[in-house]
């Protein structure tokens, strides 16, 4: 038997992608951004979205990466999964991120974007009726996440706490 080397699919900031087991899918250095995993228990496919901002109405330019915003990003990820034959009604979610990296006391809304991102992602998931199975959100630490598709497990790494599995 030839040895299979599982590939890690890396998702950039404001981007999204899907992976199929034995691949895993990951994104690095989530601060105020939210990393969202959509998966089901039937296929070997999962998707990851790296959300930067809560809502596409914030966009001041016409064309933008749809993964940047919670609303456009989640829609795009669901559609991407559906094209692979995953059923929307079977989808579940795990999420991590939405930290406040700097403790800035200001009126600038952008400084509290982490909690707004969490809220926006949850609101979208509720609208699509996708249950959140596990989350590791908020706080003030950066996170790197990797989803192990066959185990439906999200590996979360921070500088201080090390690795946890949710």
């Amino acid at each position: 038997m030839s040895q299979q080397v599982a590939e890690v699919i890396k998702v950039g900031i404001a981007d999204l992608n899907i992976a199929e087991h034995p691949e895993t899918i990951m994104t690095a250095g989530l601060g105020s951004c939210v990393g969202l995993i959509l998966y089901d228990n039937f296929s070997n496919i999962a998707g990851l979205l790296h959300v930067m901002l809560p809502d596409s109405t914030m966009a001041r330019n016409q064309s933008f990466k749809e993964g940047k915003f919670a609303d456009t990003g989640i829609k795009a990820l669901i559609e991407m999964l559906e094209r692979k034959g995953v059923r929307r009604t079977n989808l579940k979610a795990k999420m991590a991120g939405g930290a406040q990296m700097f403790n800035v006391n200001s009126n600038n809304e952008m400084m509290k974007i982490g909690s707004r991102n969490i809220e926006a992602v949850k609101k979208q998931l509720e609208e699509y009726r996708i249950p959140i199975v596990a989350e590791d959100v908020g706080g003030n630490r950066g996170r790197t996440i990797e989803f192990l598709i066959d185990q439906s497990t999200l590996k979360v790494r921070t500088i201080q706490e090390g690795v946890t599995y949710i």
Binding site: G12, I13, A14, D15, A28, G29, L30, G31, S32, C33, M52, L53, M58, A59, R60, N61, F64, K65, K68, A99, M101, F102, N103, V104, N105, S106, N108, M110, M111, I113, N140, R141, G142, R143, T144, R157, I159
Partner: protein
């Protein structure tokens, strides 16, 4: 102004000069703070995607110590002073003269010394910009963190990301600090907000885009 494609050589050269003047002033400030000579590299001005920018500092989950300030006023944007954690330790030890206290272990005195260092350096950088461009620059209260580069730099990209998928990064490296056994490098990142470019170019008499 979000269409960076319209930027010409001269605009990038102006931004390079801004990095040069700012970091030059900051290097002088650092040199007198720690009483050692400090060298700096020629600034690099790049129009980069957000991911490309993270790669410049060794990848998104590379750990660095950072001081972050926001500039508001006529010239607005975000500014970071970033060094590896062990160099933040060294800088703070030079300032407080106590080898037992480290920023990376979360010691309060060491951390506030590093924060103050970052405050002085970013302050002298931004003051030089303000003098050079005759634009008003108001500096926010500085913040310090030791964490993943991607997680920290994203904070400086939020304003930009509303209008663009790319950022202009003005990067300068301080290095070759006299009397240090190993190569020390400190990065300055200036990320101007897109709407600020018109003011910068106007104030310096560069033809409009």
């Amino acid at each position: 102004m979000q269409d960076y494609e319209q930027f010409q050589r001269i605009h990038l050269d102006v931004l390079k000069e801004i990095g040069n003047i700012g970091a030059g002033n900051a290097a002088t400030a650092l040199s007198s703070l720690i009483n050692r000579k400090v060298q700096m590299t020629v600034p690099i001005v790049n129009i980069v995607s957000f991911d490309e920018m993270m790669m410049e500092v060794g990848g998104k989950d590379e750990v660095q110590a950072a001081v972050f300030v926001q500039a508001t006023g006529d010239l607005s944007g975000s500014m970071f002073f970033m060094v590896p954690p062990e160099e933040a330790d060294l800088f703070s030890q030079l300032m407080i003269g106590d080898q037992s206290k480290t920023v990376s272990n979360g010691d309060e005195l060491a951390t506030s010394a590093f924060l103050e260092l970052g405050n002085i350096l970013t302050g002298s950088y931004l003051r030089a910009l303000s003098d050079f461009t005759s634009l008003e620059v108001v500096q926010s209260v500085p913040q310090v963190a030791i964490d993943m580069v991607g997680a920290m730099l994203t904070q400086g990209l939020l304003e930009i990301s509303v209008s663009s998928d790319q950022a202009i990064m003005i990067e300068t490296v301080l290095h070759d600090i006299e009397g240090m056994k190993r190569e020390i490098r400190g990065h300055f990142f200036l990320l101007p907000n897109p709407e600020t470019y018109t003011s910068i170019f106007e104030s310096l008499g560069v033809n409009q885009l």
